[in-house]
């Protein structure tokens, strides 16, 4: 009714003050949306990197492997797994790998390494390691006993492309296995763990090295997004019920990454809390001043029969009008900024020199604009405004008309 009109016009009655408040709300909200978007994008990319560097969104091992990864703990019922895993919903790719530890040696040096036996085509669908090759080639089945090693490992071993290396391992049957391999490719992934200490072999070669006779250590699954983990996990839990396998999402395999993300989120919420507090003070000031400047007007309204509840409503409506203008501006600004940065990417490589050591290889962040972020941010701003405006609204409704009318 007439109240919305009054509220709307009252907002623009003190144009400059209202614009300033609207701007505060808009900038605060835009900042919130952009920062949340950067956070989400950063986290998703970290997960993506980590997941593609090896573990996958979901890893399947024999039960007990996660706690104590022993060579003998190979996947149970491989034929069932090879049948079920490719049907997982939201699956982008899967790789069945052999994992083990050993000693890599050249004529001059030797060092401990992690040995990963892969089927090149499957590995390609799960990890980005094939794209990290800087010399030679990614593995393929036509090569004879090829090894793909990291750049740092190649330096520490003094093994260049086509050089021979010897891998010495303790095999599954307890015997010592030692075989000769040829460096077919060198990669640089950006992750120091990978670059310094991993040797990729063809899966058959690895099985023979470890005397595994067809055994496989893990299945790594890559999904379309980390959002799909729950659905995929549920499917696998159901299909693989009864066999001694553990189906673990990335955040169980890499708890550190999840903890980092949670910590980062908590930090963000503290900043948002401070930001909202600052905005609240601005709004409280604006609404309070506009109420105190209109004491007489409220007195006249009440004399004419306006009830205290309606006065509260009017002041709240004014605040909502103010908030909605701010939210509209802020949401537009925040979305535009997020989309712009998502398109361009935010390059943090200058600040990320030490980050690789921590396993953070994400240096260009692409913020993400999600509907959820947008709605949550907008609604929280409106709620904050409603809560803050309540005090001045109650104050206005408590004026006694006789006194208010004497007030000039």
């Amino acid at each position: 009714m007439l109240f919305w009109q009054m509220a709307w016009r009252n907002v623009w009655r003190y144009r400059r003050r209202s614009l300033l408040t609207v701007l505060t709300i808009a900038l605060g909200l835009a900042f919130n949306i952009l920062m949340r978007g950067i956070g989400d994008g950063f986290h998703e990319q970290m997960v993506d990197n980590s997941v593609r560097a090896g573990i996958g969104h979901i890893a399947i091992h024999r039960s007990g492997y996660q706690r104590d990864p022993a060579l003998l703990k190979t996947l149970p019922d491989l034929s069932l797994l090879e049948h079920v895993v490719p049907q997982t919903p939201h699956l982008r790719g899967c790789s069945f790998r052999v994992l083990g530890d050993g000693l890599a040696s050249t004529a001059g040096n030797s060092t401990g390494v992690r040995i990963v036996g892969i089927v090149p085509e499957s590995e390609r669908s799960v990890s980005t390691i094939d794209r990290a090759v800087i010399a030679g080639e990614f593995l393929n089945e036509r090569m004879s006993r090829p090894a793909l090693i990291g750049e740092r490992l190649s330096q520490s071993l003094g093994a260049r492309l086509h050089d021979k290396i010897v891998l010495l391992v303790q095999a599954a049957d307890g015997s010592m296995g030692a075989q000769l391999f040829r460096v077919a490719g060198i990669f640089r992934s950006g992750s120091s763990d990978l670059d310094r200490g991993v040797v990729y072999l063809l899966r058959n070669d690895a099985q023979s090295l470890f005397s595994l006779e067809g055994g496989v250590s893990e299945a790594a699954l890559l999904l379309h997004s980390s959002q799909s983990v729950a659905v995929a996990q549920q499917f696998l839990d159901q299909q693989l019920r009864g066999i001694p396998a553990e189906i673990l999402p990335w955040y169980v395999v890499e708890p550190f990454l999840r903890q980092f993300i949670q910590l980062d989120d908590a930090f963000f919420y503290i900043i948002v809390l401070i930001l909202f507090f600052v905005i609240s003070v601005g709004i409280l000031n604006t609404v309070m001043m506009s109420v105190l400047e209109r004491v007489r007007e409220f007195g006249v309204m009440m004399a004419l029969g306006t009830k205290p509840g309606q006065i509260v409503r009017l002041v709240m409506q004014e605040s909502v009008a103010l908030a909605l203008v701010g939210v509209a501006m802020g949401a537009a600004l925040g979305s535009a900024a997020t989309i712009l940065f998502a398109y361009q990417g935010i390059d943090l490589s200058h600040y990320a020199a030490g980050a690789a050591a921590l396993g953070i290889t994400t240096t260009v962040i692409h913020p993400e604009l999600t509907l959820r972020n947008l709605i949550v941010s907008d609604v929280s701003v409106v709620l904050v405004v409603l809560v803050v405006a309540f005090y001045p609204a109650i104050k206005a409704a408590r004026f006694r008309p006789v006194n208010a009318i004497r007030h000039i």
Binding site: M1, L2, Q5, M6, R9, N10, R13, R296, E297, V300, M301, M302, A303, L304, G305, T306, K307, P308, Q310, P401, V402, I405, I408
Partner: protein, 228 residues
């Protein structure tokens, strides 16, 4: 039975010292009256009008307006009573600055829940009748002081209240505009039988009243129907 009846009404303010703003007032006002409360500044006119207008409560005595005994009515109900039975005109700044003349007139009918087309129709009819339809869409700050007070009177009478209380409505007007306002009030009193109780300390305005209630130090010292 009189429309308004005050019995032994007293009001004292305690502001450092006790000020007896009204002492032992007995007063009856009939439907259709055109009465003025007069007296020097501080004599208790505003206090009297506020008490009758249910904006304030007396310390002792009883006030009855129509059927309602104000002194024994809870404050929450008084707002509704004012909305349905009373009209108010104050000395100045009566109108809501963000609303046009038409919207100011709509305000009370809107509070009473009258649908938009009805209240617009009634407001326009009234503006037509008094020859002020040109001001329909003007904002208060575009009006002269005289025009503002006339619109305030129209806003008070539009919902057809039992009584219009006007506290020094001409105090901020020149004599010409004061006369115009009184003309309008007289006409509405005559044509629409609106009961008016207004206050003034201006002799020219007093001369227009059909009844003078003269106050001094919170007491009625004279209550007369002047000769015409």
């Amino acid at each position: 039975m009189a429309q308004i009846e005050l019995t032994n009404v007293s009001k004292t303010y305690h502001d450092h010292v006790a000020v007896h703003a009204l002492a032992n007032i007995n007063l009856a006002i009939e439907k259709g009256e055109f009465a003025a409360a007069v007296g020097p500044s501080g004599s208790g006119k505003t206090t009297l009008l506020n008490l009758i207008g249910a904006l304030d409560t007396p310390d002792s005595g009883a006030i009855r307006i129509g059927e309602l005994e104000i002194t024994s009515t809870p404050a929450a109900k008084l707002a509704d009573f004012r909305l349905r039975h009373l009209g108010f005109v104050f000395q100045s700044f009566n109108l809501f600055p963000v609303l046009s003349v038409l919207e100011n007139l709509e305000f009370v009918p809107a509070l009473r829940g009258l649908p938009k087309p009805d209240r617009v129709h009634r407001a326009e009819q009234l503006l037509e009748a008094v020859g002020m339809i040109d001001l329909r869409d003007k904002r208060p700050d575009e009006l002269s002081g005289g025009q503002q007070q006339r619109v305030a009177v129209l806003r008070a009478i539009l919902p057809e209240p039992d009584l219009v209380l006007a506290d020094e409505p001409t105090a901020n007007l020149d004599s010409e505009n004061a006369a115009l306002l009184l003309d309008m009030m007289e006409r509405l009193n005559h044509e629409r039988a609106v009961t008016f109780l207004f206050s003034t300390h201006d002799p020219a305005v007093m001369s227009r009243a059909r009844r003078l209630i003269r106050l001094k130090d919170g007491r009625i010292v004279e209550d007369q129907v002047p000769k015409r």
